[in-house]
């Protein structure tokens, strides 16, 4: 696997796995409007992943299909962030995970709109429109719930703290990112850390939530080393393709 293809898969696996996670809310949202909102965001994310998988599948040195790439790889062959594979838990936890990711994704996709690869740039320009809406949605809920009742505030602060250790990975380059960075083919994610922290601090402060203290960050997802939760997602995600190989809908 070339560094470039690993990087593209990493970009595709993030929305794929997060989309699958958000899809679990279908029929279980706290109220109808939020059930629909979360599943609409899930649809956007899976659509974004699909654009990337379709592009990767057509590359000379890959020659695969979008189904093969999204649904038939083994766990260690997925390069998504650990953050996106974590369980939904409650609505507050789901929103916080979404908020951390959206704030990062917004910055990442703004940078990708200047990527030298014209296909990747086109996907970024298109999907950035959707990512802006995702970020607005999750940040509004952070404020509403953080600055809500005593109970919602407590739940949100706990989610903010629990998920914090999974945010560091967004700004620590994987080996493929380091390889590509030298050629200007990957985004300098280290440089996104400051603007991300600014965005997050600003929303958390409006939400009357405090920024968690420094702690060791969990990494490995981008290199294919996942949490226990990943296997469970893949079991569900891959069930149909593995039971009925080559099935299409």
């Amino acid at each position: 696997m070339t560094a470039s293809n690993s990087y593209l898969l990493h970009l595709a696996d993030n929305p794929m796995i997060l989309g699958q996670r958000l899809g679990e809310w279908c029929g279980h949202g706290p109220v109808l409007e939020q059930d629909i909102a979360l599943t609409n965001i899930a649809l956007d994310l899976i659509g974004q992943a699909r654009l990337l998988y379709q592009y990767i599948a057509g590359l000379e040195d890959v020659r695969s299909t979008e189904d093969q790439l999204s649904m038939l790889r083994y766990e260690h062959e997925y390069y998504n962030l650990l953050l996106v594979e974590l369980p939904n838990k409650d609505f507050g936890n789901t929103i916080t995970r979404q908020f951390y990711y959206d704030a990062f994704n917004l910055l990442q996709y703004e940078a990708l709109t200047n990527h030298p690869n014209v296909s990747l740039r086109a996907i970024a320009v298109k999907t950035l429109k959707e990512i802006k809406y995702h970020y607005r949605y999750s940040s509004e809920w952070m404020i509403r719930l953080g600055d809500g009742t005593e109970q919602s505030h407590t739940i949100m602060q706990s989610a903010v703290n629990q998920l914090w250790r999974y945010t560091g990975e967004m700004f620590i380059p994987a080996s493929f990112e380091n390889d590509l960075l030298a050629q200007g083919q990957a985004i300098d994610i280290i440089s996104l850390k400051e603007p991300w922290l600014e965005k997050v601090s600003s929303i958390l402060s409006q939400a009357t939530l405090s920024l968690p203290p420094d702690e060791p960050m969990r990494t490995g997802g981008k290199e294919g080393r996942h949490t226990e939760d990943m296997g469970f997602i893949l079991t569900e995600l891959q069930y149909m393709q593995r039971t009925f190989p080559q099935m299409q809908w």
Binding site: E33, A37, A42, D44, L45, A122, K129, E130, Y133, E140
Partner: protein, 173 residues
């Protein structure tokens, strides 16, 4: 020197070309987004190119949202419509660049959305999605957002504070 005969043939070829193009366009007008029936994909601004190269016709469509469930159905419906219209073998592609924008929805599209009970996109104010000009039911300007996502990713849920009816607003994209 061009003879009259060649001239006539060239003219006929141009007319044939125009006729095929017109038939393609008419067929496209008859295809609607299954999520918003009654509004053709042309009025939704999804048809971005109809072209011909050495006898091979090609239609480019712009998908709306990346995750729109209609993304696979629409090219299928377009091809079926071409077959029905006696226009086989036309290539149909989804093209993401330039990205589809709500500005591409035609004035007829706006009217049809309204008639369907959906407030059309209205870019004004500081919000990226804009806001509905008025309630599609009672035309009141006194409306409030319920949720930024509605039955599809492209719409937000609103409520009219005068007639109290809920309605959908097509967000700017």
């Amino acid at each position: 020197m061009v003879t009259t005969d060649t001239h006539t043939k060239q003219l006929q070829a141009s007319l044939d070309w125009l006729s095929i193009r017109r038939r393609i366009a008419s067929a496209l007008y008859e295809v609607s987004d299954p999520e918003i029936p009654g509004i053709s994909i042309v009025d939704l601004g999804m048809v971005i190119d109809i072209r011909e190269n050495e006898g091979q016709w090609q239609v480019d469509l712009a998908p709306t949202y990346s995750g729109c469930p209609a993304i696979d159905v629409i090219p299928f419906m377009v091809k079926a419509k071409f077959d029905e219209a006696g226009l086989p073998g036309i290539g149909v592609d989804m093209v993401i660049s330039p990205p589809w924008a709500t500005e591409w929805i035609s004035p007829i599209g706006h009217q049809k959305l309204l008639g369907y009970g959906i407030a059309p996109p209205n870019r004004h104010g500081s919000l990226m999605e804009g806001s509905p000009k008025q309630c599609p039911q009672c035309q009141s300007e006194n409306t409030v957002i319920i949720s930024p996502y509605s039955s599809t990713p492209c719409k937000a849920a609103y409520r009219c504070l005068d007639c109290l009816e809920p309605f959908e607003y097509f967000k700017c994209y």
